[in-house]
């Protein structure tokens, strides 16, 4: 007989491992990728490919340089590359995309110690970097299908600066200008349902985020009907959906406690709406999530559960 294996209990493990979770996120992004290619054609294809290649190459190079185990087959770099591409404008020059991918993995992830050690969401951090370095390229938008035609503003930009609301149907299906993956609410919601069904993300953060955003914008809509549109508009437009479903739920950079995830989502909602209504920029999702990433350790500390058997007894 073969030698018996011995190790500590438990002897069985859930089929869900890191790779399974990352692959799940990639699968959930498929509808979003299809929508982006449908609306922005070859631009979407080239930006996505550039970003993913840059991210995976950087991960490989950094791990090789630092003599660590090569873990590109956990697919986490692919997820980062995809997410970065999907929050970039369609017309962005590809070399900037490549730089963004290198920054996301190099500075955003590997420099902190690799997967699980970063404080900020790498894709969002890279977008913030590109925004600071190339503000013009990051705020140039085109209408769907008409790629090389005149530039336009995003629905949030139009709402803020021209008081024009895009039709809900266009917002829902994605027939509006914006970042590659943010325009189609339908595609993102399909991904959301998949992630929940596969139990890859927790519903708390996106639900808290959405409810806060709706309640806050709803009350402001009643107070300032001329400046603030209806809550549904804010839920469907801009980066809210892709941010709350795919970025705010990033396990690495969001709180570990259930209570903490509620708090995290609620404050994200407040910060986003504050920027959208009073800020100088039309959009605030990226900054609100990055801002809350920094608060995650504090939220973890204050929401630490009571020791078992020391709480209030029934």
């Amino acid at each position: 007989m073969k030698k018996l294996e011995i190790s500590f209990s438990p002897h069985i493990a859930s089929p869900v491992d890191t790779r399974y979770m990352m692959t799940g996120v990639i699968k959930a992004l498929v509808p979003v990728i299809i929508a982006s290619i449908y609306f922005f054609r070859w631009r979407a294809v080239s930006v996505i490919l550039t970003s993913v290649v840059a991210s995976v190459l950087t991960e490989y190079a950094m791990q090789k340089l630092r003599h660590r185990k090569i873990c590109i087959n956990d697919h986490s770099a692919v997820v980062t590359g995809l997410l970065l591409a999907l929050v970039l404008p369609p017309t962005i020059p590809l070399w900037m995309v490549f730089l963004g991918g290198v920054f996301a993995i190099g500075m955003g992830k590997e420099l902190f110690g690799g997967l699980g050690h970063n404080i900020f969401n790498p894709a969002l951090l890279a977008r913030a970097f590109l925004m600071a370095a190339f503000p013009a390229a990051l705020t140039t938008w085109v209408e769907p299908f008409t790629l090389d035609a005149v530039t336009t503003a995003t629905p949030l930009g139009l709402a803020k600066f021209s008081h024009v609301a895009a039709p809900y149907a266009d917002l829902f299906f994605g027939n509006v200008s914006g970042s590659l993956g943010e325009t189609s609410a339908l595609a993102i919601l399909a991904g959301f349902v998949y992630l929940l069904y596969k139990r890859i993300i927790d519903y708390r953060t996106p639900v808290a985020y959405a409810v806060t955003l709706a309640v806050f914008s709803g009350s402001m809509h009643l107070i300032l009907p001329d400046n603030v549109f209806s809550p549904l508009f804010y839920l469907l437009s801009g980066g809210f959906l892709i941010g709350s479903v795919f970025m705010a739920t990033d396990p690495v950079t969001s709180p570990v406690t259930k209570k903490g995830r509620w708090i995290y989502g609620i404050i994200c909602g407040f910060v986003t709406m504050t920027i959208r209504i009073w800020g100088g920029l039309p959009e605030g999702v990226m900054y609100s999530i990055l801002f809350m990433n920094a608060f995650t350790p504090v939220i973890n500390r204050i929401t630490k559960p009571k020791r078992y058997g020391t709480g209030k007894q029934k």
Binding site: L4, I6, I12, H117, V256, Y308, G309
Partner: protein
């Protein structure tokens, strides 16, 4: 019907259908029995026999003067072939009595005795003499558990038929085959403890047992039995843990470093209750039990009545259970908290609920990777720990932090390690932390 449960926990593949529909079979008497003198952590028993001695079935072969100990008996007529160190499934090599069976002698008969008016002292003495220990896993001496210290009172007795470990079906088998006997055993314990409430708790994947009890309780004229309340628990691991049962049934949490006794609870496994019944009504020592033999490497998995002391080797070679292929792991107990065995010479103990023979289909090669802070371990922990935080500190050797991370609360159920996507052996690290904390305290 409402299924009650505790917060946290996991839903592994239960795999109970491998053995649950099999008949209860009686294994032939073992040719060789190994009786470890330590059955649990604590003072080991002294051997009362030496090499060459003839022993009778049921004869005490080891005991200790310490109160927290339980005697061990010979399960067969035979000759002591040696008193030497043998491998205990959890403790490693311990001094054991090795008995060769005398093949001429049959099994002993245990005539019933009238025990309806038995006094508490008499019952606890019988439980001790019969060597009864907790049969759910920890093997804590039952007479100690039944001896309630001055000033304490048991308000609630919970009979544990949860059997939440995957693969195991021995308690289910016992509950369906020995329903009335278990109820009579519970009545005995009720008479000792006089609790205000008595529950039998069963997970909702063992409905046959639930309905068997329901029918008999409704029909019973004995007032102790008719007052027993049946609880259908949600099937979830580790529902059968003492603290989790109390939380699910009464909503109460046992404080850190305290026993259920301190808040008026007592939990007994159904197997232990049945052993009490046999000891009181038949003066039969605890020398046999139902064991689930399961896994995907066997020709005849199922539930077997087996003598304590039977070695794993003999089980698979001589009882027709037969290995159909080489197992990757042989586990004594369940897959969540059981012990992987280095060899096949280990014997069945009083607390052995099952022996699993698992191939690579169930036992995967897992490689530890980096924590992604997904918090699954925190979500599933039934005692509010933050396993990932503990592991981070253990890896850095920050032993001073162990107390503040409440490592001593860990029940080692393994739910965290089971659900970890980074495949970190969390329980192993937490045990390290526990050991360090104990060393610091002493």
């Amino acid at each position: 019907m409402r299924f009650i449960t505790f917060p946290g926990g996991i839903h592994p593949e239960y795999n109970k259908d491998i053995s649950i529909r099999e008949l209860l079979r009686r294994a032939p008497l073992p040719e060789k029995a190994i009786i470890p003198l330590s059955q649990h952590i604590g003072r080991p028993n002294e051997p009362l026999v030496k090499k060459g001695d003839h022993v009778e079935e049921g004869q005490v072969v080891g005991q200790s003067s310490s109160f927290i100990s339980s005697p061990v008996h010979s399960p067969v007529y035979g000759t002591v072939s040696d008193v030497r160190k043998e491998f205990h499934p959890a403790l490693g090599p311990v001094l054991s009595v090795v008995i060769e069976r005398d093949k001429e002698k049959p099994q002993k008969n245990y005539p019933g005795c009238d025990s309806d008016d038995i006094s508490n002292e008499e019952l606890i003495r019988k439980v001790r003499d019969a060597g009864i220990v907790g049969m759910g896993g920890a093997a804590f001496p039952t007479h100690v558990k039944l001896t309630i210290p001055e000033g304490k009172k048991i308000e609630t007795l919970i009979v544990n038929g949860a059997e939440c470990e995957p693969f195991l079906t021995c308690d289910h088998m016992l509950m369906t085959k020995k329903t009335i006997e278990i109820l009579k055993g519970i009545a005995l314990v009720i008479n000792v403890l006089r609790p205000r409430k008595t529950y039998i708790a069963i997970e909702n994947n063992k409905r046959a047992a639930f309905f068997a009890f329901q029918k008999l309780i409704a029909a019973s004229k004995q007032k102790e039995i008719s007052k027993i309340e049946l609880i259908m628990l949600k099937t979830k691991y580790p529902q059968g843990g003492e603290k989790q049962l109390i939380k699910a049934i009464a909503g109460r949490e046992v404080p850190p470093d305290k026993l259920p006794l301190d808040i008026g609870f007592l939990v007994q496994n159904v197997g232990t209750i049945f052993a009490i019944y046999e000891a009181v009504y038949f003066n039969k020592p605890l020398m046999e039990r139902i064991i689930t033999i399961s896994g995907d490497c066997l020709e005849r998995p199922g539930n077997y009545v087996m003598k304590v002391g039977t070695t794993i080797k003999e089980i698979v070679e001589k009882h027709g259970i037969n290995l159909s292929r080489d197992p990757k792991k042989v586990i004594v107990g369940g897959p969540m908290m059981g012990f992987a065995q280095p060899g096949m010479e280990t014997p069945v103990l009083k607390s052995t609920s099952g022996i699993l023979f698992l191939s690579g289909e169930y036992i995967k090669d897992l490689e530890e990777t980096q924590c992604i802070r997904c918090a699954k371990c925190i979500d599933v922990c039934p005692v509010n720990l933050s396993p990932t935080e503990i592991v981070k500190n253990v890896k850095k050797g920050y032993w001073d932090k162990m107390e503040d991370l409440w490592v001593s609360d860990c029940i080692e159920c393994g739910a965290c390690a089971y659900s970890c996507p980074a495949r970190i052996p969390l329980v192993q690290y937490i045990k390290e932390g526990k050991t360090a904390l104990l060393k610091k305290k002493t």
